[in-house]
Symmetry: C2
DNA sequence: TTACGCTCGATTATCGAGAAACCATCGTAG
DNA sequence: CTACGATGGTTTCTCGATAATCGAGCGTAA
């Protein structure tokens, strides 16, 4: 492939950050941007050589991604990008319906006004980026929106649970964006915000739950019985 | 090649298991059994020497534990056992109330009869081990009980979320077991099982939620004021 | 032709050592 | 006496290399 450039040392070197963290972010970006395709194998040895560093940090970074469920690692068989099946995405939505509902309920009485304004801004950001066609930023804003609520719940376990599930949202959008009414989904954030502003815990919880459940429904509408599409071993390397 | 010839190689060597996995289990056991105290530092170098292997597997095992939240790792500052504060345990219970309720609801219509019998057996196991005074096995059976339900939900995301929270149950018992009516808590499993047997999703969900909430209450009763949380969990995870 | 066993290339898992970073202690200046 | 800077020991983080393991392809036998 490319001549052995060490992207790490020059381009994306963060402050005192660990190399494993850098690798983690880099691989995650590549997955999100589609450079690494679902099911594609990631060879730590090759990646290490490409980035100009040894296996250890690469290995660690991949493990961390595996811990969050972005990729799968089988002992002595290496790592593969894991594209969740439609069923799995629907599963995530169902769980998030409960998680997000709880988060909204807990956040309602205690979320600061400043955060509420931030939420407002994030909805605007989603709409703007939606018009601009930058779906990657749409999901980014979406994740930040919901994360902010989870954070405001002041329940650390809840926040962690959320963080574990959030990355799947990206996959969801990437999968469905072509023909789906994303705008409708985005607009569903407004009732959540409104309920939070009103400090109405029950209403906020319900709005949040409804939001996730509609995502879940959308998935089932879009992939009626296409559940047999899990992971295919793709050795093709002709990256776009 | 240490003279002591390594506990790993002889005592607890599993089939084709990775050394990192062995380390993970060993450290987890030590934490549960109180050998490693909360807040205590775990030096990977020393641990590696003690076990007669190199740092790499130890390091990986510790990272995996950190990913689940059992210990905390700060870059270049090492790993510390993290005993969750009472508040945090209560937080976990609140989240598990929702998770377990959802699991029970989904499991009710589809859990196999054989699994129901297993659940029955596990309740018996808990009571037996409780009388025997082996609290470690009590928690083990408890975790298996709830995990079985999560598994029966056939929702993989749910199962993962559960697995992330489950380890805290051990801490809970270890913390509270001296003076608390553990038997009462254990007996609360029966209504859950009964509802599942009756295939009553709503009842099962409610029983499961009630069970976790009573755990949560117990914690707040036992640690009225926010128990000293010497070390606050700090996430260095940047989602975006 | 099909199935089995074997060898070979490729990749992971582990090792041991070196360099960088952190924490604590001590010494000195104000 | 207090505050600041240098110094040393300890531990992490990274590296390069070795050993173990997996999957595929080839050849041979029934």
């Amino acid at each position: 492939m490319a001549t052995g450039m060490s992207q790490i040392g020059s381009s994306s070197d963060f402050g005192g950050e660990l190399l494993s963290a850098t690798v983690r972010r880099l691989v995650l970006d590549r997955i999100v941007q589609g450079h690494y395709r679902p099911g594609e194998r990631i060879v730590e040895f090759k990646l290490a050589k490409e980035l100009g560093l040894s296996q250890s940090p690469v290995r660690e970074g991949l493990r961390e991604l595996a811990a969050v469920g972005i990729i799968t690692i089988h002992p002595r068989r290496g790592a593969r990008v894991r594209l969740p099946s439609a069923k799995e995405l629907a599963d995530v939505s169902v769980v998030r319906a409960e998680i997000d509902a709880l988060a909204a309920r807990l956040a309602a009485p205690r979320i600061p006004d400043a955060a509420l304004d931030d939420l407002d801004g994030l909805i605007g950001e989603m709409l703007t980026q939606l018009d601009a066609g930058d779906f990657s930023r749409v999901t980014a804003a979406d994740v930040r929106f919901h994360h902010l609520i989870a954070e405001a719940s002041e329940n650390h376990a809840l926040e962690r649970a959320f963080d574990q599930l959030a990355p799947f949202a990206r996959t969801f959008i990437t999968l469905t964006l072509p023909d789906v009414d994303v705008r409708g989904i985005v607009l569903e954030h407004r009732p959540i915000l409104a309920a939070l502003r009103a400090r109405d815990a029950d209403a906020a919880a319900e709005a949040a739950r409804a939001h996730q459940l509609s995502v879940s429904e959308l998935l089932q509408t879009h992939f009626p019985a296409t559940l047999g599409d899990p992971f295919q071993a793709q050795e093709e390397e002709a990256g776009t």
